[in-house]
Symmetry: C2
Subunit: 356 residues, 2 copies
């Protein structure tokens, strides 16, 4: 059984683990006497020790400066062992059956000999500490599966912060030997864009006749999808699902061709009846082979790295500037002048920028 911890205190006995580094085990066992070093944790992770992995992810998620320094050191040591996986984003509105799908999909993958990590990005968790995947009882088989690792959504002050933690968690999971990373996101807010920017393949779960097509088009989610899976395509629902498949197929045709050379596909599935699950994996595998072959897979990952780097720089430039009390004061003054029509937005901006 694999578990995940949210607190650095709740380290499990190392005896439940598989082959691991002896020093790491020893240190983890004695953790009440002595904190495991970053080297211990790194060795543990690389040897597939789930406790070490959970512990390191907790450091990544921590707001404590000391923990963050440790996390950074571990990440740097894990990097050469990361990057060997396929990262799959899975989204869909609440009620579409994401948990049931991930449970069935994850079990299918472990049956094929894969090691599956399930992570989540949930913007609502920035307010309410970790909501999706928190209720792991919805994935009861996968939770008990020793080749699967499930980690609830990290909480944070911003989607950017949560996304960063998730990206770093991916690196740790990959270093721990997970070759298939599933990243769930609730189908609301800006989280899809964040998840799309960290995965290789983006899967959109849909229900037939749910009538949220316009939303998907408006928010650009359909455009991001590499595949649409119409879930709950069973029983009385089947006919409607087949119609929806044809409709989505037509809608996808309206989008321009993707740089990947891949044409998004629509599939039917019933996660409950385990139908369409192996077909979904085969589809992703076809995509993987195609994009590995034409170089898109690697260039996309490099592009994503660049995106996150620039994103981080720009967020910090802004927060460093606006956090300056003198800037805040001048900003308030200029906003007030602007409200009174006594300055232009551009002259006001110059005044605020003059504070630097």
């Amino acid at each position: 059984m694999t578990t995940s911890d949210n607190t650095p205190e709740s380290i499990k006995p190392a005896s439940t683990q598989g082959t691991t580094n002896a020093i790491a085990i020893k240190n983890l066992k004695n953790k009440r006497l002595q904190q495991p070093t970053t080297d211990d944790l790194t060795h543990g992770i690389i040897n597939g020790n789930m406790t070490a992995l959970s512990r390191a992810i907790t450091l990544v998620e921590s707001t404590n400066k000391d923990h963050q320094k440790k996390a950074e050191a571990i990440l740097n040591l894990c990097l050469p062992h990361a990057n060997r996986s396929i990262r799959i984003g899975i989204t869909g509105v609440p009620g579409v059956g994401k948990s049931t799908f991930i449970e069935a999909f994850g079990m299918h993958l472990t049956g094929l000999g894969k090691k599956v990590a399930v992570l989540a990005v949930d913007p609502s968790s920035t307010l309410s500490k970790g909501s999706i995947l928190g209720d792991k009882t919805r994935m009861e088989d996968l939770v008990k599966n020793e080749h699967a690792y499930i980690r609830p959504s990290p909480s944070g002050n911003s989607l950017g912060g949560v996304a960063r933690k998730t990206r770093e968690t991916i690196i740790l999971c990959e270093a721990a030997g997970f070759d298939t990373i599933l990243i769930e996101t609730v189908g609301v807010g800006q989280s899809e864009t964040a998840v799309h920017s960290m995965v290789d393949f983006f899967l959109l779960l849909k229900l037939a006749g749910a009538g949220d097509e316009l939303q998907g088009i408006k928010r650009g989610i359909m455009e991001m999808a590499d595949a649409i899976v119409i879930n709950k395509a069973d029983g009385d629902n089947l006919k409607q699902a087949k119609n929806a498949k044809a409709e989505f197929g037509r809608a996808l045709h309206l989008y321009p061709a993707k740089d990947s050379g891949w044409k998004p596909k629509v599939l039917l599935a019933s996660a409950l009846k385990k139908e369409g699950i192996s077909e979904t994996w085969e589809l992703i595998n076809t995509y993987w082979l195609l994009t590995k072959d034409n170089g898109f897979f690697d260039s996309k990952r490099k592009g994503q790295n660049k995106f996150w780097m620039l994103q981080t720089i720009e967020e910090r430039l802004k927060s460093d500037f606006y956090d300056n009390p003198r800037v805040k004061q001048e900003l308030d003054r200029q906003l007030s002048l602007l409200d009174q029509g006594k300055t232009t937005p551009f002259a006001a901006a110059e005044m605020v920028l003059g504070i630097k």
Copy 2:
């Protein structure tokens, strides 16, 4: 006849102008001997001198630091006289008949005693110096109309730069007594969002059966529209236009209610036959009264000012940072390490931020 200049040298003889400030006129006349001062130009603008207005806009558009300083001084002096207008954004894909519509609409407005300024935002002009409205022969009646002023799209290095120049030009036109500002944008790229952020009312021109509905929904343009006018609704096209009107009406219903309390409307028009033109103005007038009454009009303008101020600050923070040669060097170094998988995007960002 009103004209517009693109070069500071091409000042027209002041004798072709109406009532103006004597000193300004004198200075403008003697411009080969002496440059008009910012006070001269300001007085000219406030007294409705078109040459002074064109001259000041040219200063706004200039990349010369000295010109920019002068422009800023003029803007500050004009501010108390600005803001008394309605600003209307007009967009639509090429071929929808924007020029013909603006010609008919502008002539109708001047017929009602309005003073109409026509400006343009064109992202393509950032590359090819000023494209739309450059060919003013497409508006031959309006060009000759003494209550109208037409100014081609300014060119610039970025949409942000072009948008800034357009916003400042609006202030100058308002100070010169123009009470109706029409801002045209080509229906491609990000220009609609920029124009939407500087107008009170956003008008989307459409053709029946053009099949670009999905594009409009995807790019959020339909969502921004306060009215959709289906142009070329005449002759054989009329029946199809009526069907399109019903369809767009249904599509607009799918969007949530606007903060303005206004429900976007769909109208039929034939700019060529001058049909639907007065109805369009009546509709905008109804919107104006409603939003002046419920306070949305003023709060929207204040919000737009704030948006442009913050936008300017953030663009400058970024450009100041990235223009630093040492930052550039470190950025290149980190991008290369990132490409080789030797760092994480976040660690790389920290290194670049460390240069500040």
